[in-house]
Amino acid sequence: MGGGTNKPPMDVPRITTIIQGCVKHQIQDSIIRNTHFNDLYILLMRLDILELKQAIKLQQQKINGKHKNNDTVRNINAKEAVNFLKGR
């Protein structure tokens, strides 16, 4: 095979991204067909924003949980593991 071309990556059509969003959020076919395009677009954006907010909230809860217990996790080598088990 010859050398690679310097073509820019293909732009994903907007419509493909929207349909992908509809599949991801399980939006019913009847809603897709009967809703104004602008309303559908905004609905998908709001669902994505909600998903991100929930992910951030979950991450915050994990961090807060760690600080509460004052527990830290670290890797140990085999010798340290044996000493720990022997009670040294």
Binding site: D11, P13, R14, I15, I18, I19, I32, R33, N34, T35, H36, F37, N38, D39, L40, Y41, I42
Partner: protein
């Protein structure tokens, strides 16, 4: 889906005279995702920059009656994507439904086009500018 009538006309020569016959084409205004799909498939260059409805919101403020040829053509591209009719096969054939030299009829058509654009935008619960 909202139905409306698009004023059309065809001209022919009869007994060495130009005879114009008017008729109304019943079309359905489609504001769903399929309108945007048609916009992206048929007019890729315009669709790269903005959605169909953003485009209509932008050109809607222009006076189409005094617009130049390029703006008029763009308006008809948007109109073609917005409407559905069994008698309209493709964009080229769609443009042949109108004779742009007939001034009064053309003005009537432009009024209807502006009306269709207003309906298409007002049908949404959201303002595209937001």
């Amino acid at each position: 889906m909202i139905k409306t009538k698009l004023p059309c006309w065809n001209s022919q020569i009869k007994d060495n005279k130009k005879v114009v016959s008017d008729y109304d084409l019943i079309v359905t205004i489609n504001t769903s995702i399929t309108a945007e799909q048609k916009w992206e498939e048929e007019f890729k260059e315009q669709a790269k920059n903005e959605t169909l409805f953003n485009y209509i919101a932008r050109i809607g403020s222009s006076n189409l009656k005094t617009a130049d040829t390029s703006l008029l053509l763009s308006a008809f591209k948007a109109l073609y994507c917005l409407i559905e009719c069994e008698d309209i096969l493709n964009f080229k054939q769609f443009l042949t439904l109108f004779d742009f030299s007939e001034e009064k009829r053309f003005e009537k058509l432009i009024n209807e086009v502006t009306n269709i654009f207003e309906i298409a935008l007002s049908n949404s619960a959201n303002d595209p500018k937001n």
